[in-house]
């Protein structure tokens, strides 16, 4: 027997399958428990789409009983997914035999392979963002709620704004070293970066907290750091905040508080020009616009429980001669130009809508794979059951 076929036989082993299933279950369990202290997206990246993961042992024992230190290194979801894929493929290569009583299993396993591919494609290529539109307003960009950017806007040209953005990740890792660029009218030094934050109003904030900023809105309201949103909190996401000091030619222009929670941009004067400054969620602009015509939010009588939400929007894409009204509601998304718009949430006081915008080139794969697996399993087990019934009757 050649070394290659020997290797193939080993890779095809059912023992390996069982071990891989057990490992996968452990990672899934750990990744679920981890969501009590971490956001779901960070868990997905660290546990389910990673080559390996360090699993803290404290997850498995309630902190009320004992606080256990230490971590176990473990293969991550990506490694296990690839391993299951290889194991399954090898098994069918080694044991392939076309017979009626095996068709069910072959179809099922082909479906499973496709399911793994589908999750891989989703992990690698899917993009999700939010489109927040107030009633009567128009939006032409999608915000990525998992990334932020510092935008410096020169609005002096009446026709077009000149926008320079600094990724939030660059500010987060800047530390003491200042961020400078020829495109920016000033140098940015990060005094304090908060991955997740909360705003304290003028009456809540202490004098010391208000003194952190020397200019702009930060002199009236303050930001404090709060723990990262966990998967436990549901759909919530982190809202960063930063105190940044701006300097030009060695002279300070003041320390500003910037955060997406402040919805109005702040004005900064540098070199005789006015700039608008804001930390916002990363924007991806689209060649079309969406206008919110009407937002409806019905509740059950006498309660705050939502009965349904819906957004009537006008979709306008001049380049493709599209100008129409669409009603987006729960379980009834709009699919347009490779993206899907879902009714996700709403602005406070029902003054606007939040649409989730998803682009996933692999969205159809799970549908195909699931159909295959279902048919395959029904075929396989159905045939077994039928023969059992025949035996029982005779």
């Amino acid at each position: 027997m050649s070394a290659a076929s020997d290797l193939l036989r080993r890779l095809a082993s059912l023992r390996l399958t069982v071990v891989l299933f057990a490992l996968a279950m452990f990672v899934i369990l750990a990744g679920t428990l981890a969501q009590t202290e971490e956001g779901v997206w960070s868990v997905v990246d660290r546990y389910f789409r990673s080559v390996y993961v360090s699993i803290p042992l404290r997850l498995f024992v309630p902190s009320k009983i004992a606080e256990i230190p230490g971590v176990v290194p473990f293969p991550g979801g990506l490694t296990l997914g690839v391993a299951i894929f290889v194991n399954l493929l090898a098994a069918h290569i080694v044991r392939f035999k076309l017979a009626w009583n095996r068709v069910g299993m072959i179809v099922t396993h082909a479906g499973v392979l496709l399911l793994l591919v589908g999750e891989f494609v989703t992990g690698a290529f899917a993009k999700e963002g939010n489109m927040t539109i107030a009633e009567g307003q128009t939006a032409n960009y999608v915000e990525d709620m998992r990334a932020s950017e510092l935008a410096v806007i020169d609005a002096s040209d009446p026709k077009d704004d000149l926008v320079v953005v600094v990724p939030g990740s660059m500010l987060a890792s800047a530390g003491a070293s200042p961020v400078a660029s020829g495109l920016l009218p000033f140098t940015v030094r990060v005094v304090e970066w908060m991955p997740n934050s909360q705003i304290l109003g003028p009456m809540q904030a202490s004098k010391m907290q208000l003194a952190k900023a020397t200019a702009g809105l930060g002199t009236q309201v303050a930001a404090i750091e709060i723990p990262a949103a966990t998967g436990v909190d549901g759909a919530s996401f982190d809202v960063p905040a930063a105190y940044i000091e701006l300097t030009r030619d060695g002279a300070s222009l003041g320390t500003y508080l910037v955060t997406p929670r402040l919805t109005i941009p702040q004005s900064v004067e540098a070199g005789g020009r006015r700039y608008q400054l804001s930390l916002r969620f990363e924007r991806g602009y689209r060649p079309y616009t969406v206008t919110l015509v009407d937002f409806r939010h019905d509740r059950f009588v006498g309660t705050e429980v939502a009965r349904n939400f819906s957004s009537l929007v006008r979709l306008n894409d001049a380049a493709n001669s599209v100008d129409r009204e669409v009603l987006i509601s729960m379980n009834n998304p709009l699919r347009y130009s490779g993206e899907t718009f879902y009714q996700a949430s709403f602005a406070p006081d029902d003054s606007g809508t939040v649409l989730q915008v998803v682009r996933n080139p692999g969205w159809l794969l799970p549908y195909i794979s699931c159909t295959m697996v279902t048919i395959g399993l029904l075929w396989h087990f159905g045939a077994r059951l039928a023969s059992g019934v025949r035996r029982r009757i005779s």
């Binding site: 082993s13 059912l14 023992r15 399958t17 069982v18 299933f21 057990a22 996968a24 279950m25 899934i28 369990l29 990744g31 679920t32 428990l33 969501q35 009590t36 779901v40 868990v43 997905v44 389910f48 589908g118 999750e119 989703t122 999700e128 998967g231 436990v232 549901g234 759909a235 509740r299 059950f300 009588v301 006498g302 309660t303 429980v305 939502a306 009965r307 349904n308 939400f309 729960m330 379980n331 998304p333 899907t340 879902y342 996700a344 989730q356 998803v358 996933n360 969205w363 799970p366 549908y367 699931c370 697996v373 279902t374 399993l377 029904l378 087990f381 077994r384 059951l385 059992g388 029982r392």
Partner: protein, 570 residues
Amino acid sequence: MKSLPRLFPAIVAICAIAFLGAALTRSFSAGDRARGVALEDIERLPVSAGGRTKPLDTFARSTLVRLGGRQTFEGGTPETGVGQRPATEWILELWTDPAAASERRVFRIDHPDVKSLLAITDTKRTRFSWKEIEPKLDEVVRQAELSQRVPRKQQDPFQKAVSDLYGKLAEYAEVRSLRTPYVVAPLAAGEEWAPLVSSDPHQQGAQRISDTAAARAFQAILVSYSTGDAAACERAVASYTAELHATLPREMNAGAFEVVFSRLEPFYQSSALYLLAFLLGCVGLLVSPISPDRWRPGLFRAALIVIGIAFVVQTFGIGARIYLQGRPPVTNLYSSAVFIGWACVPLALLGEWFSRVGILTLAASLIGFATLIIAHNLAASGDTMEMMQAVLDSNFWLATHVVVVTVGYSATFLAGFIAIFYVLGGVCTRLLRGEPMKALPKMTYGVICFAALASFVGTVLGGIWADQSWGRFWGWDPKENGAALIVLWNLLILHARWGGLIRDRGVAALAIFGNIVTAWSWFGTNMLGVGLHSYGFMDSAVFALAAFCVVQLALMAVAIVPMARWRSAS
């Protein structure tokens, strides 16, 4: 005497049907009277609470359940007889004679520190009246405010208990002041359900009393009830009812049915029958060495018939809920428990038909009984037919994804329970000698195949729903992960067996572990308090879950006993 074993099943069946007949008669009988007024028509009056139109009876029952964990209250007058009285009588007393009502012991308090906070010295009693609590009301409010500064998950048992008590007191006050439920029905076009009493938006602290035709009719009922004018009260009820029938016929018919449904308590009746069937089966097992051909089949046949009757009653109950809610059978944790049991029973009986070993009859009755007990304990939020959040509001997906995935959970549990019978019966007794020792592992295996199929298809349907709703086929949400664990575990068992890594004993041990996996996915993920799927809000069940897991692990240890030591091994 010789034919007694043969007649026995028929005798048991007649008894079971007589038991049901008695319950039915009670449900349709005229019902109780209070202050000379027939309560039945008042019980049927529709009110709106939690977004749902329901009979006053249901509202009163569910309020009492939330306050004290019971659907009735201890009270009554010498004329009506003192004892457990219907909930509607309590709510009428609360609205017409609050002083008398304040002496009813409707609040359940268990925590000793809360009792001592209320200066209650009687440590054995668990039910207390508003009057007993009132002197310490300010202290309860202060303690609750202190507790609420701590996030719910970090509160200690005392803080939780005092917050709960505060919530109950607030609810009691809301109901007493007639702000909840909404009793004013929309009789004219353009009207909506409204409370009889509400805050006046124009004047701080002032109250406004609704002045529609329905509000006046409802007040007339309360006034005549409080003055003890029974004839006037019944007239007022009759005229209001007639108007309601003209404007809200569907609500009135459903309401009348719901009152009967609440009185009949079909799930209580069927749980009693499942218990009876289980006992019959146990006796059947015990007598099998003595009378294998006569009493054993007689008892098992009787058990089977009783299970059949219980199943019909349970099916009626589920059907009634579908009619009342206009929704597929599984909408919350409570209904999932009812449904899991319901789905297990025919599966187990199908297995029984294949194997003819009797054990599966036992499994069917035990699961039917146990799941109904679990459901009963999950009904503490009162009304089990609450409205669904918008995202879950889709009958198509509730009917497909939720039902199929619940059937998958059921089958995984069933496999685990068959394995428990196999292990315990095989190791500790000689009852499984011969055919059952071969048949039970086969059944376990077959049920696992079915469980793998149903849990996979159900999970995938959930993914498709998620993709339709928010564009994410798989979001790694805890409940989704729980479902994935069940699928993987079933697949692991199947592949291990196909690979020859485990045989009968191994399949049994792993199937028992499947109980832990399923219980964790069903309840544990809700305990994390996470995600869109956490339809059930749980606090105290953690201990029960942990105990269940420990028992399962112990049973797995029993399965590891070498086959030579099994008493049923030949």
